[in-house]
Symmetry: C2
Subunit: 112 residues, 2 copies
């Protein structure tokens, strides 16, 4: 981390590192984000692109991301009901982090 001033002696939800981690934590979360990085998507489209996720978990992830202000939801009129999930500007701010996760993972794999 940048400086060691204000050292944390335990996990603190207000620490930026914890904030970022909690935003992307949980199984499937990064994959949901990746799909949304390709563009807005409906609930069903997300489920189709992630065939092994259960509706419960997909719902949980989308709720969490919405609660964190990373994803916006829009209900489309008509029948049957359609929904549109899209990354918010805050959600877009995660892109460099996901890229760095990928880079770091590659580096770690290469070392084996």
């Amino acid at each position: 981390m940048p400086t060691e001033a204000g050292r944390t002696r335990r996990p603190d939800a207000d620490c930026p590192v914890e904030v970022a981690l909690s935003a992307i934590s949980g199984r499937w979360t990064t994959l949901v984000l990746r799909e949304l990085m390709h563009g807005p998507s409906s609930f069903g489209d997300l489920a189709a692109r992630l065939p092994e996720i259960s509706p419960k978990v997909l719902t949980e992830r989308l709720h969490g991301l919405r609660a964190d202000g990373l994803v916006d939801r829009e209900r489309l009129t008509g029948f049957p009901v359609r929904t549109r999930y899209a990354l918010s500007p805050a959600g877009e701010a995660l892109r460099p982090l996901l890229t760095e996760l990928y880079r770091t993972g590659e580096r770690l794999q290469r070392r084996r």
Copy 2:
């Protein structure tokens, strides 16, 4: 992330993103890493700098990090026994990721 070729349809332990995430996942893990980024440390020193971590969890974290090749352990001769934990080169490779986590967390906090 970079490309969408070879899209993952479920969490795959071989995906670089998952590799990086699993390396830093778990409560206390990033704090243990941060302490080691300041330099090598003994078990007791780590416990003293993280007063609220239990010995069990500290042991678990250090074992995990060692299993991933991110941390090296050295036993120092003498009595009482002393140990020296230090970041390996692979562990050093995590530094940019932790920095990016911090930056991203700050950006997210600013948006509230």
